[in-house]
Symmetry: D2
Subunit: 375 residues, 4 copies
Amino acid sequence: MSGNTLGTLFTVTSFGESHGPAIGCVVDGCPPGLALDAADIQAELDRRKPGTSRHVTQRREPDEVEILSGVFEGRTTGTPIALLIRNQDQRSKDYGNIAETFRPGHADYPYWQKYGIRDPRGGGRSSARETAVRVAAGAIARKWLQERYGIVIRGWMAQLGPIEIPFVAWEELDNPFFAPNAAIVPQLESYMDELRKSGDSIGARINVMARGVPVGWGEPVYDRLDADIAHAMMGINAVKGVEIGAGFACIAQHGSEHGDELTPDGFLSNHAGGVLGGLSTGQDVLVSMAIKPTSSIRLERRSIDKQGKPAIVSTHGRHDPCVGIRATPIAEAMLALVLIDHALRHRAQCGDVVTTTPKIDGLAPDGEQWPPSPR
Amino acid sequence: MSGNTLGTLFTVTSFGESHGPAIGCVVDGCPPGLALDAADIQAELDRRKPGTSRHVTQRREPDEVEILSGVFEGRTTGTPIALLIRNQDQRSKDYGNIAETFRPGHADYPYWQKYGIRDPRGGGRSSARETAVRVAAGAIARKWLQERYGIVIRGWMAQLGPIEIPFVAWEELDNPFFAPNAAIVPQLESYMDELRKSGDSIGARINVMARGVPVGWGEPVYDRLDADIAHAMMGINAVKGVEIGAGFACIAQHGSEHGDELTPDGFLSNHAGGVLGGLSTGQDVLVSMAIKPTSSIRLERRSIDKQGKPAIVSTHGRHDPCVGIRATPIAEAMLALVLIDHALRHRAQCGDVVTTTPKIDGLAPDGEQWPPSPR
Amino acid sequence: MSGNTLGTLFTVTSFGESHGPAIGCVVDGCPPGLALDAADIQAELDRRKPGTSRHVTQRREPDEVEILSGVFEGRTTGTPIALLIRNQDQRSKDYGNIAETFRPGHADYPYWQKYGIRDPRGGGRSSARETAVRVAAGAIARKWLQERYGIVIRGWMAQLGPIEIPFVAWEELDNPFFAPNAAIVPQLESYMDELRKSGDSIGARINVMARGVPVGWGEPVYDRLDADIAHAMMGINAVKGVEIGAGFACIAQHGSEHGDELTPDGFLSNHAGGVLGGLSTGQDVLVSMAIKPTSSIRLERRSIDKQGKPAIVSTHGRHDPCVGIRATPIAEAMLALVLIDHALRHRAQCGDVVTTTPKIDGLAPDGEQWPPSPR
Amino acid sequence: MSGNTLGTLFTVTSFGESHGPAIGCVVDGCPPGLALDAADIQAELDRRKPGTSRHVTQRREPDEVEILSGVFEGRTTGTPIALLIRNQDQRSKDYGNIAETFRPGHADYPYWQKYGIRDPRGGGRSSARETAVRVAAGAIARKWLQERYGIVIRGWMAQLGPIEIPFVAWEELDNPFFAPNAAIVPQLESYMDELRKSGDSIGARINVMARGVPVGWGEPVYDRLDADIAHAMMGINAVKGVEIGAGFACIAQHGSEHGDELTPDGFLSNHAGGVLGGLSTGQDVLVSMAIKPTSSIRLERRSIDKQGKPAIVSTHGRHDPCVGIRATPIAEAMLALVLIDHALRHRAQCGDVVTTTPKIDGLAPDGEQWPPSPR
């Protein structure tokens, strides 16, 4: 299987460079009969697109999606759905100096060593711009999951650099940070304003959850549901860590605390994060991830050039000082893509019966009422 | 691709239940000409096998491996290598009560819901016993990686429940915990003795690294080297979190701190954990993972039975009170399996040239001298 | 995907050499709940096993299968089913001279060039002995297809060297040739007796059909049902040609003859062989294949040795003078394996509804009453 | 793996309907550094495109290809190469009546049954128009195979309906039929003129060969080189039979005739068609296939409508009366795609050494001098 294809049955094959003519993907294996038009996809793309606040890259890309195939009279036909997004605001001259040197913390160096050639304009293939196609493909997945199983997938920013963001309410999420906490937004804004001035960048934590997943999705050994989620999330640019449920907190937990007790009314806690033995339990699937600080920064850093000679690198161009800010829709999309793939895999082997768990909705790992952060 | 097969080109297809006649696997895609006999594999299996100290399960399994195919006159032939390990010390009657109820925190419940049938004896397929075949397959992978590229893969326990284990020296690792710190072993032992008496279980942190990986292995988008590592590690029983390099610490880092500077003599730090843009950088690949506490404990817990009625569950049988204690060789094996797969994928697309990075060996993420823990 | 694994969802991963300790396979993706024991598989293996008549190899292999996993209390659990067949009647010394030279028409030469090493004993991995595991795996597939959809798969010998074998009746098939024509058997026997004396070998044509396949299984473009059947059949040792329905006869047909007309009572002919546009039509799936003559013959032939020097090769050992004689159960198994894989793929994407075509059963491609040969 | 992706390492993911906005594909896994521009691909597309003679469909499609990604400054970068061809001459109203009925011999019926929805305009996804993207992707494959290994791939028409076309010379191939025989072209033209008037269609035989393939490409068991070729060729619209080397003629051959003898100067014949035991032998790879007559014909035929009621179908629109006429470039492309995939698979497992066989070039299966037809 090629490295640019995600999934086993519901597959996304991605293409495109940041400053090439276009980016896009082919979505294959989509069930037929799903109502779908470009607006369904556009709505998700608009949540991720650049240039919407002063805290993200100022590149102006409308990210307008065209459906090239697989949809007839407003419904999916079961054939491949090709999605095309033309690049429109390339300023490749900004990257002239990057072509000869390697940005510290950036894919520049290993690309060059692997392929012996690379498209340096805007990061080429390694640009976070590629994540737009994940969001587009994910929009199809989440629509089907929602319509067929009632699954809802939501993400949010849980930490921006040193600032932890307590979960308050979904209703407060509508801000440039996807922070579920309106009161903290001014603090985030002034933090980012300072940061931008400094020419530096910062990391973030993103959480994402899926509610309504039936019991038993996943595979017990290598392709566990949580393993595939980890693969999908660590496969997002800049992610350096992934947790399911209690995550790293489980190290210091006893079994009598961590193991979620079960009653006829449902589980009493959710340290498992909705996955046991690689299979969904019917509880909320809870995922958390660490996003590293952007490697393209204005500050001067030591590096080498293509000849191996010392060089000082300072990146101008237009970059997100915190790639985590736009990462929430991407994380949601990736979770949707993993879930639909396992929905189809499950249906293949075990048939079309849906089993749900009696459950007390909204339990956080610690048994508190949801939705708090899964940490 | 079926859920019990790991890898794209170097594949491991695993089979077997804890109390069935045997466990084993088929390793396909192994390069021909590798010197290999059962002893090579047995050495690794012996590091993982149960019953070697009072801190692990007392099940007595010699874990003797038989090579059924793919080796002729002491060398791999390029055809599938089948490995067979007969189960010998099943005591299935210990599990009679488990067949009717679901252990909290255990795969029992979703297995039942998924398949409508399950082999409850010793956990069946969900038993950690399956990991023996990963270690066996990994032994082949690491031998080839070592011989062809000089790659060395090592893991260790970095934390046992509340006890952090400072890295002292590889030479001190030869203890039942894989703790690289001889002085701390008595503390670990008394902690485990207490725990065992209490009937409870505990989590752990395992680190693993690979030194000598050439630059450029991996795929830039979905099948990133780090994404495939995350998939492999989260696919180990009981793992709830995975980090590469700085991991979750990157959330609060600035780009000017996190991005590893590069000089003609090599990188000056390794926050990246040896992977940038999904490709290896030539630095040490650093992985850390969280292992949850065993779900099979003696303490009484609330649960339900197959009819959905309330039940009290207390697990006897023979279980590891901390599955993390035997996890180190498993994590090493999984890293070896991911690396060999990407070695072959890289060679397929880019040819057989090996590129290495000038590097200052033994740099931890914080630039201190290796080998400390990657956190 | 490794080259020794067949299928996408219902996968068979095969291992073993002719004179190694064992052959076998891992079957993954089998639906749970299927009643299965070793006798189900043994029945199919016994149809293929060597030594049952004077017209086949005299190697005495009981081909006794052991189920190592995936079955609990007589039912499949949805986990991998490992099947093991120990080799028992190796006489490797018969092959001493083959180790140094290459048999004309045999895989010896390219194996050596590919891997630089090969197991020459009995043909090693390239031996037709490997096909036993296909038959074993196929037995599981056909049982499920029969129980769930009522699909019946049957094959027969349609030609032995120059002797065409008119289809008479299924009831007459119980002879060493799988010839559906009792009257012709003496002619086949005397032909084979002559051939054996001569030290030469001969080809054959095998037909296989599946009745009761629902409409719509398959994929429209690359993984067409017929493409996957062609892959499976051409993947049987010694097959050099594959036809679906009218096969090569379609070259000289007009569209008005070839295109099967459709009425409310069903199709009026079956030139398509049950597949249109890569999808099953609900009619009988009709496949025909050409089996080349065995390359291991007693007659002296020119070849070269490992040093590239001229050599005269004459193969003794124990070989089938017509591998086609035992090929019928293998072809049936391969068709079953392709069908179950597409049954699961279809169910994944399109759900669990079964659609059947009103049909006039038993129509041959030419509209005559079935079951004649599909040519 | 999804059904619209071909290949394991060099993958082609195809999309598009006949009358949708566009067709295209994503080519992944291409080695970096290959010189490539749109003209390289256009040259192959022009060989296949419709409307170039009166014997093929009169639809006017320029089939102009746009490279959207994966190429930088005229060289492949190792990242996905997306190819886009806009549809320009749709006349969807011609197909109004097809939407309600099913053409005999056409994919209409099983599509409808499988998906419950279909795009009927011009055949939608089942249109032969999809094969343009195979030709485009194949152009990349053959360029790399030629540059790296000197492999030449050529196809030709060997039979048109009842007219066998003796191979004369490659130089005579430049005619609308790809017939390597200038003298026979007038006969082919008058045959087609008659046929077109009659409103009927006809089948054809296409041969294709690859010269210069190194020894040892392929996999010994399921993914044999010949099995993958059969999969690729049977996966072309309208193909009903595939042969390698002697093909069905091997049924009546003795082993002493069929097995190609080997001398220090090369093989003495090529009944094997360049593949033994699933691996290339270094000889010419010889493939032959049967193309059925087009199912869309003007003559009236019995069928049913979507309600299952009887209907008379007569297809107007613009169709090839013999799809075989344009099939030669498609068959060449498919062979190129299989070969490059196995080139990469071989390199992955066995390294980058190329082994060639001393050979007497141009030997037909019967030992006559090449290039005759492989039958």
